[in-house]
């Protein structure tokens, strides 16, 4: 009979239990029998000794050895009595049995009355009494062959019983174990079928309503769950696969764990090639540090959105992409990897580059004639003032001068923008006095308006670290913005405070103000606030973008505080030292 391991285990358990029980009961019975045999033998010998002792009294009393010998001779009827003797009342040996026995085998004098098991024999001393008077002592010695014969028989019977019981137990266990193992084997069979064929629609058959039944139910329940989860997973997988954007997941060490169709198309590597490889395969050599940085940020649980970078395709072509990276967590919330959704933005980048080139070129081309126009206007204005021309001419030329100046600023902004975008900007960092710069820019700005009053709070003189010209541009842009968005005029105030090796500069107006929603978009390129009141305000929407970009190069940023209809305040900080 071939049995599975659980069947053998159960059968072994049954057989072992039976054997132990049998052995224990046999052992207990054996001990009990041994003790009771001993007791029986002792009783028998004591009874016999009592009779012999009683019969010997007269022989002892009247010194009749022949009679005593006769009486002891009666012991022949018990073959286990190996020796006996009578002592008279003076403890002298009177008669021995058997008559031929070597007296060395007998005690030299009687011991205390009673029966004792010594050296595998039973020895006893029985007093010989007649009417309460002691006449002597009977010594008797019996071998224990009777006990050993009985015990031997007992062992033989116990052995037979043991063999018989175990045989019965074996056949019973073969029968009984089936009740337990059958459902388990069925379940195991089902589980094996499922793991071999990956067919989760199979269900185990429930046979009992006991714990195994519950186990079967739980197993089937788990299969249902797995089926449902498989559906969800395949749906999710289908979504991932059908995505237009490459979606890649990887472990914390950068090993790629999934690679969708779009990733195949975009990077030119098949999923089979990439899974198990390092993500560095598609990272350009000069951006390898970037990947480590991303991993470090992810390990802190950070999610990275629209991270613009470049990646290599199979054909060693550089692709501009925007990455959205999220940490992947296990059930316990521990980060075990990351998912990357890449978006190919190379076309967008290309378009931007063309536009920047265009703007740069146009601005440059416009700047040359404008410079000469401005020179001529200034010459004309000076000449008109010198000749004392009429007020209209002076006025017209002054306005023309202001407008050309404004226009050259705009063109300068465009040029700066183009340079910034190309990363060509060069900062001339130096330590300079802030107050004179503020006065100078405020003076220039005051020329642009007549119905605003630009107030520079006279603050303690302080030196700052930065590009003087660029900071001037920042201030100029903030001031022109303040002028533009305060159509009703009013005060524009520039002030600064210094604290902790930093100077905080503030430009505030009493203009239209900016709604919280607008504030967020304010510093985007080409963004212009959209509402009826500012429809008339001219501009390209690059002023604040430039401000924020220049400040970014100074490790600073522009902040805004505003309330609609109640004016705006812009802040930025500069360091006082390098």
């Amino acid at each position: 009979m071939k049995h599975s391991s659980i069947q053998s285990k159960i059968m072994n358990a049954i057989l072992l239990a039976c054997s132990v029980v049998l052995l224990l009961s046999a052992g207990a019975y054996f001990v009990f029998e041994y003790v009771s045999y001993k007791k029986t033998v002792k009783n028998n010998v004591a009874t016999l000794a009592g009779i012999i002792a009683s019969n010997s009294s007269a022989a002892l009393a009247f010194d009749s050895r022949a009679d005593a010998r006769d009486i002891l001779g009666a012991l022949k009827s018990n073959p286990h009595i190996v020796a006996a003797c009578l002592f008279d009342e003076h403890n002298r040996l009177f008669v021995a049995y058997p008559a031929t026995i070597d007296s060395k085998l007998l005690p030299t004098s009687p011991q205390p009355d009673g029966y004792r098991f010594i050296n595998g024999t039973l020895e006893g001393y029985e007093p010989v009494m007649q009417q309460s008077g002691r006449l002597g002592t009977l010594y008797i010695q019996s071998d224990l062959k009777e006990i050993y014969t009985q015990l031997g028989r007992l062992i033989f019977i116990a052995g037979l019983l043991f063999a018989g019981s175990l045989t019965v137990a074996y056949f019973l266990s073969v029968f009984l174990q089936k009740r337990i193992t059958k459902p388990i084997l069925l379940l195991e069979n089902t589980a094996r079928t499922i793991s071999e064929q990956h067919d989760y629609s199979v269900r185990a058959v429930k046979t009992n309503a006991d714990e195994l039944g519950s186990l079967t139910d739980a197993f089937n329940q788990m299969l249902t769950e797995i089926e449902l989860q498989n559906q969800t997973i395949s749906q999710l997988a289908a979504i991932v696969e059908s995505s237009n954007d490459p979606i890649i997941s990887m472990a914390l060490d950068g090993t790629i764990t999934s690679w969708n169709d779009s990733a195949e198309r975009t990077f030119g590597y098949a999923a089979g090639e990439m899974i198990g490889q390092s993500i560095l395969t598609i990272v350009p050599p000069d951006r390898i540090e970037e990947e480590a940085e991303i991993l470090a940020r992810l390990e802190q649980g950070e999610r990275i959105e629209q991270f613009e970078t470049q990646r290599l395709t199979r054909n060693k072509k550089l692709l501009d992409i925007s990455l959205t990276i999220s940490p992947l967590k296990d059930a316990g919330g521990k980060i075990i990897g990351s998912s990357k959704i890449a978006r190919d933005i190379s076309e967008k980048k290309q378009a931007e580059r063309r536009k920047n080139d265009f703007i740069g070129m146009v601005s440059h081309e416009l700047k040359t004639p404008l410079t000469s126009i401005r020179s001529y206007v200034q010459v004309l204005l000076a000449e008109a003032k010198r000749r004392g021309s009429d007020a209209f001419i002076v006025n017209a030329l002054t306005r023309t001068d202001v407008q050309t100046k404004k226009m050259s600023h705009m063109i300068q902004d465009f040029l700066n923008l183009a340079r910034l975008e190309e990363g060509k900007i060069q900062l001339m960092l130096q330590e300079f006095q802030l107050q004179p710069l503020i006065e100078e820019i405020a003076g220039d700005a005051q020329f642009l308006t007549t119905n605003h009053k630009i107030i520079t709070d006279n603050c303690a003189d302080v030196n700052v670290w930065g590009d003087r010209e660029k900071i001037g541009q920042v201030l100029m842009n903030l001031l022109t913005n303040a002028i533009k968005y305060s159509p009703k005029g009013g005060d524009i105030r520039i002030s600064y405070t210094s604290e902790n090796e930093k100077v905080r500069i503030r430009v505030s107006d009493q203009g239209l103000g900016i709604s919280p929603a607008e504030q967020k978009k304010l510093f985007q390129r080409f963004y212009r606030v959209e509402n009826e009141q500012v429809q008339m305000v001219s501009g390209f929407g690059i002023g604040l973008y430039l401000v924020s970009e220049i400040l970014r190069y100074h490790n600073s940023q522009i902040e805004v505080e505003s309330k609609e209809g109640d004016g705006s305040s812009f802040y930025f900080s500069l360091e006082t030292q390098r």
Binding site: S57, A58, A59, F62, D63, D67, Q130, Q131
Partner: protein, 181 residues
């Protein structure tokens, strides 16, 4: 009639003992033969049953009488000094010739004169007295138990009929070691 008999017995016993006086008695320890016989006398008390009526009262002593010459000296007295028969202490009484022989349970008669022996025995024949003697004709003379020698050993001869007359029950064990007729 009884007084006459007693007188005669006493006289007989006196005459019997007079000529048998031995120096050993004076020394207190009899010859080995009499030591054994003394032990036997005492042992008889264990193997013979006397009827309760033979005792005058519950605390009356068990009397071992010695008629004729006393061969034991104090040996027998010493032997029975602390012993009891059915709760009765044992005393040894010596009877002079012609003395009243009443009140004894076991009587050792040491008299070789057939006439005196018969006279002595006839005095106690209807009493509960175990008569013991070592004369060859002791049984014939009406005694119950006789010592005799066989291969230098002391043996006993018992006459059951005489014991029956004396209303004594003799243990079968004793009968087993004795010659019974």
């Amino acid at each position: 009639m009884r007084g006459k008999t007693t007188y005669r017995l006493l006289m007989a016993c006196f005459l019997l003992t007079a000529g048998n006086f031995t120096p050993a008695i004076a020394q207190g320890k009899p010859p080995l033969e009499y030591q054994v016989k003394a032990a036997f006398l005492f042992n008889f008390t264990r193997f013979v049953h006397w009827p309760a009526s033979s005792f005058a009262s519950a605390d009356a002593p068990f009397v071992i009488g010695i008629a004729g010459n006393d061969p034991f000296g104090t040996y027998l007295d010493d032997m029975v000094a602390d012993e009891k028969v059915d709760g009765h202490r044992i005393i040894v009484r010596r009877y002079a010739d012609g003395q009243e022989l009443s009140g004894c349970h076991l009587l050792f008669i040491n008299n070789n004169d057939p006439a005196k022996l018969s006279a002595c025995l006839s005095l106690v024949v209807h009493q509960n007295v175990l008569t013991v003697g070592d004369n060859d004709n002791f049984i014939k003379a009406g005694g119950i138990l006789r010592f005799y020698k066989d291969e230098n050993r002391i043996k006993m001869e018992i006459r059951l009929a005489a014991a029956k007359v004396a209303q004594l029950e003799i243990s079968a064990k004793l009968l087993q070691v004795a010659k019974v007729n």
